[in-house]
């Protein structure tokens, strides 16, 4: 065993290396330079958010703050103006939380059930539905937003004036709709990869659709649920278009609030407050990304996996 392993890796095994291999140094140099392109904006964001206005006007974007201050952060969070109101980003943060949590929960439940149906309980037309979803995944959202706005403004509680459009439920509905293709694909592929014998054994033991789902499939698919949740949390938190169209002004999510704070201020723009607000908005997806690591990669790569 060990013999064959040594043989297999024989020619590529550790060869004596010089301390300064020019090729290796070149590789690292390229990677470091590329890293700077990716890191500089983050650095500039943080540095700018800690400066005061005078220093921004005089100084250099790349310089470290001479007198670091957290005032811009406080202002961005609680008192920055969006044109009409001066409540900062905090209302937007909470709206984003209220939008993201139910959207993620509902879309993941629906997506997992779809995937389970498609993988294990095919029915006539189920593959056609799946194909439509896959194609729909590539449609530009702009084709669908107006008809969806019409549709949701006609979805009213019978006998009242309460309609879906322009409410927080509407964005949740929209996120569920647009999250469906990718989540369905993700779960379908995962459930299809589980050993079919388990499913057959459960069928012989008399378990039905729901029982197999809850007692066999769910306990085995925790990782894919985590992947789906990561994908949805970052996607929904970062959404701008659906928030601005379907949520209605009182429910604008954080990205919309951020854009309003930055792009509708009259007079002198306070770049330090803008950048602090930007970091605050980016914080949630960044934390999710750094904590989740490889699972995030698995989630985005799922889009490239064929059905």
């Amino acid at each position: 065993m060990s013999m064959s392993a040594t043989l297999a890796s024989g020619p590529s095994g550790p060869k004596p290396k010089r301390a300064f291999d020019p090729v290796r140094i070149g590789i690292y140099a390229v990677l470091v330079v590329a890293s700077m392109y990716f890191l500089v904006p983050l650095y500039v964001m943080v540095v700018t958010s800690l400066k005061d206005v005078a220093e921004i006007r005089l100084g250099n974007v790349f310089s470290l703050p001479a007198h670091p201050t957290f005032d811009p952060w406080i202002k961005a969070w609680s008192t920055a103006c969006t044109g009409l109101y001066c409540e900062g980003l905090s209302p937007g943060f909470w709206k984003s939380v209220y939008i993201t949590i139910p959207s993620v929960v509902i879309s993941v439940i629906v997506g997992s059930l779809n995937g389970y149906s498609l993988a294990n309980w095919r029915f006539k037309g189920s593959e056609t539905l799946f194909t439509i979803l896959l194609i729909g995944n590539f449609l530009p959202y702009q084709v669908l937003i107006y008809p969806l706005a019409r549709l949701t403004s006609n979805m009213c509680l019978p006998g009242t004036d309460l309609c879906l459009y322009s409410t927080i439920y509407c964005v949740i509905f929209i996120h569920t709709v647009f999250g469906m293709p990718l989540l369905t694909l993700l779960f379908r592929n995962y459930f299809a990869s589980l050993p079919n014998e388990l499913f057959k054994a459960a069928r012989i033991d008399g378990a039905g659709f729901w029982r197999i789902f809850f007692q066999i499939m769910l306990p085995m698919s925790l990782p894919i649920f985590v992947v789906a949740i990561i994908l949805q949390v970052t996607g929904i938190w970062n959404d701008f278009l659906f928030g601005v169209i379907f949520a209605g002004q009182p429910n604008y999510p954080m990205t919309v609030q951020l854009n309003n704070i930055v792009n509708s201020i009259q007079g002198v723009r306070e770049y330090n407050v803008d950048m602090a607000a930007t970091i605050l908005t980016a914080a949630v997806p960044l934390i999710v990304y750094f904590v989740s690591g490889r699972l995030f990669v698995r989630g985005i790569a799922a889009g490239a996996v064929k059905g």
């Binding site: 990716f38 974007v61 059930l113 008809p147 854009n259």
Partner: protein, 317 residues
């Protein structure tokens, strides 16, 4: 005789239920999927197409299916004249020009950089996870955040240009964000920054999927590494390239919020993309907006159809 009677009673018991009840739970669970596929993706797309042939301003002409009444629709129907008017508008021509300029730059940039970074990361380097994390984190950010940061960095009054002038390099000039002809390329810089990580991750997965024996064989034959990549590895990775291309291109056609945050479409409307145009015209010229969105859909079909054909064609054989 007895046999017969047993059989017939057996048959009576196990008579198959009507087809519609088969897999009933599965069908029940798939109701949301049916709704989304049929009502949203098929229905709403057809709806958009239908009203893109009208001169509707802010509300579509009323159409009743029960009982059928298309008279209002017919009186608003203008056929392809709406599309002619659309393409006669400078704002739309600029948007279309921009999506090609932006698309080609972003696509080339993301693929070149993404592939190169994946190759370099694949050289059994140290801190692999660290580099990968750095290259991919912008993908976790929203377009609004991306646009704002890059606006700030490239802003000639405060950003890169001013910093270079402070260093004494007064000849240095980089005013793309404020320059009518270059603004879309400034947006592309931000787009590449955000989108490269995805391509890199997909390419890296593709590179890792290449059999080690290929590398050994090419080493035995004494083929230089760069030639192995160019003539052996890249052709082998064709499926990865194609799926990445479709994913990235479909995202590019949708690009909307980077422009909103970075330039607001300006200066003037020089950085408008089709998505921004559709959004702007929703409330003032609905027919035009829908015609524009239908045109965007044509772009996507041009991108996706060959891929779908390739995929399905391969599956059949």
């Amino acid at each position: 005789m007895t046999d017969m009677s047993v059989k017939s009673s057996d048959y009576a018991v196990t008579r198959p239920r009507p087809k519609i009840f088969r897999n009933l739970s599965s069908k029940f669970a798939a109701i949301p999927m049916m709704f989304v596929a049929l009502v949203v993706f098929v229905g709403c797309t057809l709806w958009s197409l239908m009203f893109s042939f009208t001169n509707a301003v802010s509300l579509p002409p009323a159409v009743h299916l029960f009982p059928p009444d298309f008279s209002a629709y017919v009186s608003h129907f203008i056929g392809f004249r709406g599309y002619e008017q659309l393409f006669a508008q400078d704002k739309w021509s600029v948007s279309v020009h921009n999506i090609f300029a932006y698309g080609i730059c972003a696509l080339t940039g993301e693929f070149l950089l993404g592939f190169l970074l994946a190759v370099f990361i694949d050289q059994k380097i140290r801190f692999e996870d660290g580099f990968r994390t750095i290259f991919l984190y912008p993908f976790a950010l929203s377009g609004i955040v991306t646009g704002l940061v890059w606006e700030w960095m490239l802003n000639p009054a405060f950003g890169l240009e001013k910093s270079m002038h402070d260093l004494g390099l007064t000849w240095f000039s980089f005013d793309w964000v404020a320059n009518r002809d270059m603004v879309i390329y400034a947006v592309a810089i931000a787009g590449v920054w955000q989108g490269t990580g995805l391509v890199m991750a997909l390419m890296l997965a593709g590179l890792r999927g290449i059999d080690d024996d290929i590398w050994k064989a090419s080493r035995v034959d004494g083929i230089p590494k760069w030639r192995t990549y160019l003539f052996i590895v890249i052709p082998m990775m064709r499926p990865v390239f194609i799926t990445s291309l479709v994913l990235v291109a479909a995202n590019i056609v949708r690009t909307f919020d980077i422009v909103v945050a970075m330039t607001g479409g300006g200066p003037g409307y020089q950085s408008y993309l089709p998505a921004n145009y559709v959004y702007e015209k929703l409330s003032t010229a609905l027919g035009q907006s829908l015609a524009a969105s239908a045109t965007m859909m044509v772009f996507v079909i041009i991108i996706v159809a060959p891929w779908a054909f390739y995929e399905f064609g391969r599956k059949r054989t």
